[in-house]
Symmetry: C2
Subunit: 686 residues, 2 copies
């Protein structure tokens, strides 16, 4: 369905089908909100009984509703919904919000009815939002298609998309007290037609939306979502709260990669790929959103703390570190300026503690000094009620300074009644406040992450697409498959006589390992059946004879097939590299510790294919196995670049081969130069 | 100083020295609060000028103040503070709160003045609270010695002890809006005399205090604190917010244990030992405190979720898991009862989703069913404003049910204006509410942790104190030291001839390893200078000869001292066990992965000595090295009990030997039966 979603967001006229004059009915609430929202387009009501509602006629027939009308809000019994959609189509209405519940969420019968709605809509090119949703809300247009209790939320720059109507309703009420507003709100309900991926770019298009928050319970089409979100996050920040983290039950998997990759790892990887910030809690999501809405992004992670009390300053310093930020090292000139301004017992080193006597002027002057410091990328101002001054006076002075700098400033405004007025002053000036330093620091952390993401975008390495894709369609062995993507393997070849042994050894390159090849000799070493470090054709020649001789002597009856020749791989570090096809998001690449550590410690990282070099590097950085590649204590460094190369190539392989369900190189031995796949397993789609 | 702290908490009369008639002065604020708090004892004011204040005389001489008076609040210039303390002593006042700042916190001169105050106080047996503090507050007595803006905080069961006055002041203001109260508040200031360890048992004694929250920036005496807190937590829960987590700089250390043990590990270990719950943020501390104040403790970790909306239910389920709780498996009879009561499209499995139409009666009925379920240890009720009912009506119905059960119920009351009335109803009924399911789940988690701690107390194994303590005073080698505590070592002994080799081998027990002993032969294996698996006296005899022969043949000029004999230790798992003396808390015991993992992965756990078996087991459980002891994949299980034994013994050693700064067994090889210290290092106090 490619019909436009515009009527949902910018309708010329709206009709409520199922409007009601009974205040306790949803059909009344929707009508009331449409009128009270001061929507400038046409508003019409259709009802079973004629009469008036809010001084407008109640039409009993949709066809009587005059133009313009291009959005219908349906609050009709479930059974008549499909027919009503058809009526809308005939009336030329191409967008319908189905508020009513009682569809898929109540069982098979409801699901069938929902499918009927979709079928009718598709037939006539009508787009549906819902059913079982609370509609949409635009504070700037303005337009309120919900039945939520007035007043409408305050105007703001946060676009809010929610899979849960109850969650959205509670947040709207909570936001009122918290003092923040929204640009748009979209409740998705059952997503019979329009889903989160459809709506995301539409909300992003809205000029008033500066940041988008996404409450997600699932994803409709993982790949499409990642694609759509990646486009959005280039321009506007997106924060997601994805719920349903813990899954009951485990799935059968053919590899470590398969066993360790879960839906949560896939969502994490998808959000990372799409540049979406993932919040842990609802409160955190909105803490971050308010900072992203109002603050310029920091150039780096070095933050200063300005406080009038030691304790909260220490809390803030702790929290900066927890959120991946750094305490700025203030320049000498900053320290001098602070020293000459502040009383001698103040602390001029970051956190800057002005002491309890700090006046509004002290706050303003010191903040200015800090923001002028080239080592300061942002400031966390801590403001418990100053014992000798009004908090709002501090707010006013501080705001004047903030406006003159292109650096983020967030405020830990501690208290409630004593800081109420100050809070309003900050809100009006679009300076985000938080009741505790910990939450302010978390917000600064989100700003830094967003800045880091945008910086990364500018330095994206180009991904070289494999040109020989068509040639590898017919994979024969796992080794051949990965070799076709340029990953080094260690083939084992059977030599049937000494000359063949020499040929193979020459072909593989010296040194080689030679092993007696016999189905009857299990413990080859025990009978001297393994020769290491064969360095020349001569040694290979005599080695073949030696092995056969030893085998015959030790086990005269054993069947001898010849000798296995394999390139001898030098010592190195062993890691695991794999890919597993996630049902939602496609190939998920894993990197981590090999051996028992992979499962025991879960020392692994995931990312979505295809990977670029930066993403591969990030996976390495996240794991102990990866950090060790650079060398650690007695462990010598190995070729990290070669691992990045294997990760990128394997991700490309997985991306280009949908028939590969799981593939795992375990171990990948990383050498001083290069990396070799010692063993590789593939599971194809059944 | 052993004088009583009672006058601080239950004074018969209070005098404000430095009372002021100027409303902007602290000396006015303190006088005002004393009067307005309706303190029933005598209140007197001393000032430089005579006159009246709040209808009471201003005395110009402390000696004119009539009895009874046993607590003085000093708001006088720093220079005259020592003299004023002396005046108090002479007047028979044995407790003084020094509100004024300008002492140790402003530098050397202030520190000297503070010391003067302490000296005078000690001389006369006066106890001091502060300086640089905001005093004390008791809402039940009532008594308010602070200058905080009225009104006084609401009455409640939370005792609040704070190292930071600014933090305490901000919390008091914030608590008003949050709707919770306090029993007592104590601001400690510079702790020139009275510190957190002194105050903790006093606040715990208060009958109105049901839970204690502790804002800590440091500890005065670690061991005393742990001892005092351990006594308190047996009866009342204590939650601490310890700030200053991140320390700049690293210290030099002689062992892995020393390098990895930091002040934070020590605080964590101390809190664990003392049974104190450690909160991560200020908000979390009070979220937990409100639940611990009002809820019965759960018998287990199995929680049910009751909701009228799917989304928040999923958030709650995630959060239960995050907080170490479990989703109850509801019994068949519960499922039947819910099914027969709720509409068919509801979800009767935990989380129980009654759908948006849920009435106050639905909430009450379903909550009752859940609380009756033997598999349910507590319930998280999710309550966004129900579309068709008043939230406060739900609150009223739910409260009736909660009172009939001895199980904890917390409420995620989502929204603000629409739930305001409901919030008040819950507050009056002492049912803790939280704006989001995540915070409600965290509070349930704290209840479960508290219950677990108390259960553990009842099953404390007795610690066998080492009786031979005096015998090990004169330690000679590290091996002898640990052996004296019954830890198995592998001494290496030098045999100077073949007979001695046999004697030593017999003494150590077979099998043994024999190695040529020569300062000139570095790579012993290369010349065949190591013999493994010597099983008998005969083999030892001939082994000696063989080694000497080989050495002479390979390196004729090498000096031969004889042969080193060591018991051959079987294969096993290698771990690291150590102790380091923390400057605050004394010996800190470490357990974790040996080899490079110890530093690379920081797979270690810490606990304070002396350990009991349960604590040692907990350390093992926390680490991958420990979990592996039970066997993992191809790794066979080893003797976990023997590691517990070594940990307990080593902790006793460290506890009994203050001269040992660091001791580390690395590796401890854990066998199928027993564990052997392969190498041990000790650093003694300089």
């Amino acid at each position: 369905m490619s019909s436009s979603l515009t009527p949902f967001f910018k309708p010329r006229g709206v009709v409520v089908i199922g409007a009601s004059t009974s205040p306790e009915k949803l059909g009344y609430g929707v009508a009331r909100n449409l009128i009270q929202s001061r929507y400038k387009g046409a508003v019409h009501f259709v009802s079973q009984k004629s009469g008036t509602l809010f001084d407008r006629p109640l039409y009993t027939n949709l066809n009587d509703v005059p133009d313009p009308v291009d959005l219908a809000i349906l609050i009709v019994p479930t059974q008549v919904t499909p027919q009503t959609i058809e009526d809308c189509a005939k009336r030329g209405i191409k967008a319908a919000i189905i508020v009513s519940a009682g569809f898929r969420e109540v069982g098979a019968e409801g699901a069938a009815l929902e499918q009927q709605c979709v079928d009718v809509a598709r037939k006539h090119g009508v787009r549906l939002l819902g059913p079982n949703c609370i509609g949409t809300l635009d504070t700037h247009l303005p337009l309120d298609t919900t039945f939520l209790q007035p007043p409408m939320p305050a105007q703001g720059g946060i676009g809010f998309i929610s899979h849960s109507g109850a969650f959205a309703a509670a947040i709207v009420d909570w936001a009122r007290e918290q003092g923040f507003g929204f640009s748009q709100i979209v409740s998705l309900g059952n997503q019979a037609d329009v889903n989160e991926t459809d709506v995301l770019p539409e909300v992003a298009k809205d000029e008033h939306t500066r940041v988008i928050v996404l409450y997600m319970e699932s994803v409709s089409d993982g790949a499409k979502f990642v694609h759509a979100a990646s486009e959005v996050t280039k321009h506007k920040p997106v924060i997601a709260l994805k719920v349903g983290r813990f899954e009951a039950g485990q799935k059968a998997a053919a590899s470590h990669t398969g066993a360790l990759a879960g839906s949560e790892a896939a969502f994490d990887a998808a959000f990372a790929k799409a540049g979406i910030l993932r919040a842990d809690t609802a409160e955190q999501m909105f803490d971050w959103a308010r900072a992203l809405e109002d603050c310029p992004l920091p150039r780096g992670k070095r933050m200063a703390i300005l406080t009038n009390a030691g304790g909260p300053g220490v809390i803030a310093a702790d929290s900066l570190e927890t959120n991946g930020l750094l305490l700025s090292q203030l320049t000498e000139s900053t320290l001098r300026a602070l020293s000459s301004y502040l009383p001698p017992s103040s602390s001029v080193h970051n956190p800057v503690d002005m002491l309890a006597s700090a006046s509004p002027e002290s706050y303003a002057t010191c903040l200015k000094i800090l923001l002028q410091d080239e080592n300061v990328d942002g400031v966390l101002v801590i403001l418990p009620p100053p014992p000798m001054f009004k908090t709002e006076n501090v707010a006013e002075k501080v705001i004047e300074v903030i406006g003159n700098f292109d650096k983020p400033v967030v405020v830990a405004l501690m208290g409630s009644t004593l800081v109420e007025e100050a809070n309003k002053v900050f809100q009006r000036a679009h300076v985000p406040t938080y009741p505790f330093p910990e939450r302010a620091a978390s917000a600064l952390g989100a700003l830094a992450k967003r800045a880091e993401y945008l910086n990364g975008l500018q330095h994206l390495p180009t991904l070289e697409l494999n040109k020989s894709k068509s040639e590898v369609r017919r994979l024969r062995t796992p080794e051949e498959l990965i070799a076709s993507y340029g990953i080094t393997t260690t083939p084992i070849k059977l030599a049937r006589d000494e000359n063949e042994a020499v040929t193979i050894a020459n072909e593989l390159g010296f040194p080689v390992v030679m092993k007696i090849a016999s189905p009857d000799i299990l413990h080859k070493s025990d009978i001297g059946g393994v020769l290491l470090n064969i360095k020349s054709a001569e040694e290979a020649l005599s080695g073949y004879a030696t092995l056969l001789e030893r085998a015959k002597k030790a086990m005269p009856l054993a069947r001898i097939e010849g000798v296995h020749v394999q390139r001898q791989i030098p010592e190195g570090q062993e890691v695991i590299v794999g890919a597993v096809r996630d049902p939602l998001f496609g190939p998920l690449i894993m990197f981590g510790s090999g051996g028992i550590e992979v499962e025991g410690l879960k020392d692994v990282a995931f990312a979505l294919a295809p990977l670029n070099q930066t993403e591969a590097q990030e996976m390495i950085r996240k794991t102990w196995a990866g950090r060790k590649l650079k060398g650690f204590r007695s462990i010598p460094p190995v070729d990290e670049e070669s691992v990045i190369d294997v990760l990128v190539k394997l991700s490309l392989l997985a991306y280009e081969h949908p028939e590969v369900d799981e593939i795992e190189i375990n171990p990948l031995r990383v050498l001083q130069k290069g990396a070799v796949a010692v063993d590789v397993r593939v599971r194809l789609r059944a």
